[in-house]
């Protein structure tokens, strides 16, 4: 600015000098490296060691990946191709095995022309858990359903699903879209009937079996609605459960057969021993996850109950299950249940395994939830009592939402553990992706001696699923955080 009086003052600057660049060693990547990699002798040593490790790993792994062969009929053919292409000493991956056997890793021995059924069930799984995962965020539902639609459109076409399945899926997805945009709360009904749909899709047979079985739950709901005002929550639920059990035990089978003989609708039945690979892992994992959470909540409440007997039974169950390895429980499913059940009872091995895995996971989840309950300040219980809420209302409205929120990381890591543990079913003769299918592939004369590729392939899929679950739990933790720290 010019001086208003016209004469300049020698010692006062009237213009700003441009700021100088910060010293090179105090800015940018140089500063970052000085601080994070080379701040002192120990740090420099660590940096050098990790660079050496990374370099060593890359030098071994990168050529192996780059030399990978996708088109070959056997391991020796792979090796010949790699030797031709990259020299006699080069190592390379033989992904041709994955290309040839991917369907066994994913579906086991499920009939090939029926692949669309597990695929459809898998796609609908996301539509079913979406309303639960993103509860109260309906803006996320539309993108989710869009992804599901695209996934199903592509995969069903690839699996050459029948036209009727296409049409029904399209109608179902349209309904879901409509619900998501008008009444997202109703979507939970789709989640409720999803197990029946999946059962029908996976095992096939008559459609009336799952439909009639679901009627049992309708009986529980109706009984509860009609009687809970007069009898209270516990008695009403118990009454409903008794009626439903009577229905399942005595009427269910006959009614289903009767309807089926009049209106036979169904899919070709698939036996349980044809299940395998990730289809089996997902079936066991998802079912056990869905059932172990409510069971874990009940066990945790039982363990904190004032009623001595309930407490003792819960503690005994939890500590017993947590004290023995899962393998012994799986052997119980395959060897001992025949002693515990009435003579000549025989039911599906997958179902038996699911029940035992659910028990196992429920015991762990109960402990996690007990931690959440213990972390809740006593004032919350007292406040709920002071409001005049009865036990179940207090649990549902005040205690559980907070306790579950605290317990989310633990619950999800239990789920991850459960999903990883589904591989152990290989030891009772089921065809899990890791040991069962890999063993079959490695026993094939063409692929004898292959070991990195199948394990990397299976491990990568497990990693994606488990890592996704843990990231979701972190997201949920952040979203549910109510304190501002």
């Amino acid at each position: 600015m010019a001086n208003p009086t016209g004469d300049s003052i020698a010692f006062a600057r009237d213009t700003m000098i441009p700021p100088r660049e910060p010293p090179a060693r105090e800015s940018g990547y140089v500063k970052w490296m000085r601080e994070n990699l080379f701040s002192n002798a120990l740090n420099i040593t660590l940096t050098v060691i990790s660079i050496l490790i990374i370099f060593g790993l890359l030098r071994a792994v990168v050529p192996w990946f780059l030399n990978g062969v996708w088109n070959a009929g056997s391991l020796s053919e792979c090796r010949t191709i790699i030797a031709e292409r990259a020299g006699p000493d080069a190592s390379g991956a033989c992904w041709a095995m994955v290309r040839e056997r991917w369907n066994q890793f994913l579906f086991g021995f499920f009939p090939m022309d029926q692949y669309w059924r597990p695929t459809l069930a898998f796609g609908l799984l996301f539509a079913a858990i979406g309303p639960v995962l993103f509860a109260g965020q309906k803006e996320k539902l539309n993108p989710l359903f869009l992804v599901v639609t695209l996934f199903l459109a592509v995969t069903l076409w690839l699996a050459s699903a029948p036209a009727l399945a296409f049409a029904l899926t399209a109608v179902l997805l349209l309904v879901l879209f409509a619900l998501a945009n008008t009444a997202p709360g109703r979507l939970i009904w789709f989640t409720a009937i999803y197990p029946a749909i999946t059962f029908f899709l996976l095992w096939g047979g008559s459609i009336w079996a799952p439909v009639v079985a679901m009627l049992g739950f309708v009986i529980i709901a109706v009984t509860y609605r009609l009687t809970f005002e007069r009898l209270g929550v516990v008695v009403a639920t118990a009454l409903g459960a008794v009626l439903a059990v009577l229905w399942w035990l005595f009427l269910d089978h006959g009614v289903a057969q009767a309807i089926d003989s009049v209106i036979p609708i169904g899919l070709p039945a698939v036996a349980s021993d044809q299940f395998g690979g990730f289809l089996l892992a997902m079936t066991i994992g998802v079912t056990a996850i869905a059932f172990s959470l409510p069971m874990g909540i009940l066990l945790a409440l039982g363990r904190r109950s004032d009623m001595f007997l309930i407490k003792v039974l819960s503690v005994g169950f939890i500590e017993f299950i947590r004290g023995v390895p899962l393998i012994t429980l799986l052997f119980t499913a395959s060897l001992l249940l025949q002693y515990f059940l009435p003579p000549n009872t025989n039911f599906d091995l997958i179902l038996r395994v699911i029940i035992l895995v659910t028990f196992f996971s429920a015991a762990y989840i109960a402990e996690v939830i007990r931690g959440g309950l213990a972390a809740l300040p006593r004032g919350q219980y007292e406040a709920a009592d002071a409001l005049g809420l009865d036990y179940w209302r207090a649990q549902r409205l005040v205690i559980m939402p907070q306790a579950l929120k605290i317990a989310i990381p633990g619950i999800v890591s239990s789920f991850i553990g459960l999903f990883k543990d589904t591989t152990l079913v290989a030891f009772v003769g089921l065809l899990d992706p890791l040991k069962g299918v890999t063993q079959i592939v490695r026993a094939d004369i063409n692929w004898k001696g292959i070991y990195w590729e199948p394990y990397i392939f299976v491990g990568a899929i497990f990693f994606v699923i488990c890592f996704g679950m843990s990231r979701y739990s972190m997201y949920l933790e952040r979203r549910l955080k109510r304190d501002h720290r």
Binding site: G232, F308, Y339, L434, K435, G449, Y455
Partner: protein, 424 residues
């Protein structure tokens, strides 16, 4: 004045069993008791019927019959003429051996990885994150199978270690080399040096198995050193409290720990027996089966990743103010760590660490994947298949695993109570 009327007569009505909170819990418990009793008697009845249908009783007599199978890795003397009970004991000891070394190795890996993940070094922090995430999110069975298969298929054959006179004359090297001249990993097993004593004290017979007196002597000396060390640090602390100056003790404690053991080892004539290549295979040294190595490596890498997260969370749980307060008191970083941070962090770390040890111990039952003869391999495997006593074997095996778990958690809980924050 209106009086409040008489309290309603305490006449008991049947409906009060459900609606009156004074009686309701008793009613519910009685119903549960009846249902539970019915359930148990139903199961019991089924077991009796099923056993009768198979024409079998329920007895553990088979444990004293001849086992008739061999176990390659064993800590105590065993031949196939011994009983099933002894085979079970061999298996149990194998399980415990694996769990013991697994817990130690997993702790070392976990603590190192957890601390490094927190270090200021960006690169090593990321590297450890990758290790933790990749290991945790993949089934442990995969690591066991992968390590086992790599060891038994990708390692050189014993004959590759052969060095003949002709090869020396031609200036050739053998195809494979021993690590540090003492460890040879072949596709059949890992050969490691064995400790030998020239003037051994012999063994003591405990009736069931032999215990090496040399080992007992070493343990006794170490225990003695421990008490001497305790006395030394006690004296140092007393002196510090009296005068305010902490005496220099490091060389004394080093002496206390090392000197007796070294003298004892020298007196016993301790030396290592290295594996030597003779004929077609290695002789001398100890051959560790790949099944054991694979289980040990895989279980400790897997559990180590979980322990790393526990250690990291424990250290991060200590507020920064604690470090600053320690600095303000004039403590140096090393002392801050050992006197302020670690005692507090341990309280957070110990309980989940216990459950990781328990998990590792239970995961040793995955030995089934690589045919390592642990408790499940002997009692729940070959014995079960040979005798057909499924019910007895499974129940006994569960009881043993349950006992191990309860003992570990009991011991660790005692320790946990000792370091727990004493509130009011």
């Amino acid at each position: 004045m209106a009086y409040a009327g008489e309290a309603p007569k305490d006449s008991f009505r049947l409906s009060m069993l459900i609606y009156d909170t004074r009686y309701r819990s008793i009613t519910i418990q009685i119903i549960v008791l009846i249902l539970f009793g019915l359930f148990l008697s139903w199961i019991f009845n089924n077991i009796v019927q099923n056993l009768a249908a198979k024409d079998r009783g329920f007895s553990y007599d088979f444990l004293w019959n001849r086992a008739g199978y061999d176990i390659s890795q064993r800590l105590i003397a065993y031949t196939n003429d011994d009983t099933h009970a002894r085979a079970m004991l061999v298996g149990l000891l194998n399980t415990l051996l694996l769990a013991f070394f697994g817990c130690i190795l997993a702790t070392v890996i976990g603590v190192v990885a957890g601390v490094l993940r927190l270090s200021n070094n960006w690169l090593i922090g990321r590297l450890m994150t990758v290790y933790v995430e990749v290991t945790r999110n993949v089934p442990v069975l995969l690591w066991i199978l992968l390590v086992y298969v790599v060891l038994s298929e990708a390692m050189p054959e014993p004959k590759d270690f052969k060095l003949t006179d002709a090869m020396i004359a031609a200036g050739e090297q053998p195809k494979a080399h021993m690590i540090l001249g003492s460890i040879a990993i072949t596709n059949r097993g890992t050969n490691i040096p064995e400790p030998l004593f020239d003037r051994s004290l012999g063994n003591i017979d405990l009736g069931i198995f032999l215990v090496s007196l040399d080992l007992l002597a070493i343990i006794a000396v170490l225990v003695g050193s421990f008490f001497a060390y305790r006395a030394l640090s006690h004296r140092a602390r007393a002196l510090q409290e009296a005068t305010g100056v902490r005496p220099v003790t490091w060389w004394k404690s080093l002496l206390i720990w090392l000197a007796p053991v070294v003298i004892l080892l020298w007196a016993l004539g301790f030396h290592l027996g290295y594996p030597q290549f003779k004929g077609f295979n290695f002789t001398g040294g100890i051959t560790v089966a790949h099944a054991f190595t694979a289980l040990l490596v895989a279980l400790s890498l897997y559990t180590g990743a979980f322990i790393a997260e526990i250690v990291r969370a424990g250290i991060m749980a200590i507020p920064r103010g604690q470090t600053e307060a320690a600095y303000a008191l004039g403590l140096r970083p090393g002392r801050t760590m050992s006197l302020v941070i670690l005692p507090q962090a341990l309280r957070v770390i110990i309980p989940p660490l216990i459950s990781q040890y328990l998990n590792l111990t239970k995961n040793t039952s995955l030995a089934i994947a690589v045919s390592y003869m642990d408790l499940r391999g002997t009692l729940g495997g070959i014995t079960l298949n040979q005798t057909g006593k499924e019910l007895e074997c499974m129940l006994l095996m569960m009881a043993i695993y349950l006992t191990i778990s309860l003992i570990i958690s009991g011991v660790m809980n005692i320790y946990n109570n000792a370091v727990k924050l004493k509130e009011r």
